[in-house]
Subunit: 295 residues, 2 copies
Amino acid sequence: MKTLADLGEDTLVQLLTRTLRRDDDVLLGPGDDCAVVRLPRGAHSLVLKTDTIVEGVHFTPETPARWVGRKAMARVLSDFAAMAATPRHALITLIAPPRIWVKRVQGIYHGLAKLADEFEVRIVGGETSRGDQLSITVSLIGYVPTRKWITRSAARAGDVLYVTGRLGGSIRGRHLRFQPLVKESSIIAKKLKPTAMMDLSDGLAKDLPRMARASGLGWNLWLDQIPITAGCSLSQALNDGEDYHLLFATSPTLKKQALLECQALCPGVKFHAIGELTRDEKTGLLETGGWDHFL
Amino acid sequence: MKTLADLGEDTLVQLLTRTLRRDDDVLLGPGDDCAVVRLPRGAHSLVLKTDTIVEGVHFTPETPARWVGRKAMARVLSDFAAMAATPRHALITLIAPPRIWVKRVQGIYHGLAKLADEFEVRIVGGETSRGDQLSITVSLIGYVPTRKWITRSAARAGDVLYVTGRLGGSIRGRHLRFQPLVKESSIIAKKLKPTAMMDLSDGLAKDLPRMARASGLGWNLWLDQIPITAGCSLSQALNDGEDYHLLFATSPTLKKQALLECQALCPGVKFHAIGELTRDEKTGLLETGGWDHFL
């Protein structure tokens, strides 16, 4: 088996990029100084996100290569879901030790490219560098109609909080296998008109305060309503992180019928109302009872 | 002095992003799931590039923080110069050990942001992760009028090769202090109509073959015409790398007057004709005499 040191950078890049799909709107793909893509007709705003996973932090040396690549791509797709945006073109930055097996790097790329393909995302370029610790950074651009994106910061007091599935215990497999909710998020955006939305990557205990702070609000969690992965405790559901479910807030006047229709269109997830946003910003932590204990 | 472990991610991000400049076309800046920027009116194509620098590879623990940040931004700006494209919005991915001083991270960000500002580039988002080895990845997007970008692959046999300055010995300081030739490259594009262009990051010995290969050509270097940094050998000029000068090819029928005019408009650099591209792809290496020795 060959290592990166046997191969050299140019051969590696050729190996990794030769099977990448390339659509008409990729005007200049991998291999030049930059990539160039054609903007969609009538596009007004561009969505940008970068995310990185590091060996020993987000995956282990034992994690199968394809799952490593898949996770790197899935995480940033999940951020696009959180904005109700459509992802389109990706750049990959790989830092790897020279002694890594070429086969492992290829496996990572296959994982990246396969999930990208499922979401009609094309890898148009990237960069490789030597380093002691393996990491994969995915930078993704895409589109959203102007003012149709959903931020974290426009929720209103009284809005009801929903999550799209059970929380906690992601380490048992979900952190690698989760499906980014890109399609679901655009259905939610249309049907439920969320005032704020984000993806749960660091755990509800860390992410909900971020949304509330961004909106200048507090919150009241209905702790007995939080959907918990079988075999997990409430504390795990709140703190484990890497759930990659969507957290969103909608008007309390939302019709139950709209929620049922939306639920029917998103068979892969289940909506759970878990609390509400409140006017009082400062006492949010205390109002949730045992909350500060989990933080 | 505080470390990242004392501060936590959210406080760090607030600290790093609060002084970032923000223009009208940044519709959603740092702090949400993604960034959103307004596309320029009439923009048809988007230019994308990512690049990374790693401690121990591209800089040392002793390199002053601002120069580390500056280098990370300068390298990717240099890739935009190589395409004659205009950079505009950047995402920063920082991998850092928890024990790093916050002051060093802030210094790196100052270096990134200061050079970005000089080039009217705005940092619109980013990501931070824990890792054993410090690295900074910059992903940059920008614009170029459709079909006005300059690739590596459209050079023709007989084209003359130019570099924009002396090569070799970059480690003495140029690798940190070089000025990305973004403005100069757009002047070169207009005045000299280069058929191919790239920036010299890995040394002429590695980069010229890349351009020639991409264009399906060989080359003939005029070794006695290669501009060498004072105190360096020819071998260093060819192999040291990190020159960040532009290498471009133009028609042999280019008028000397055009070159003089272009030179007058680019007082910070000096054009040197160093060889020509040849039809025979296969013997390129041998034709340059001692070339294979340097590889």
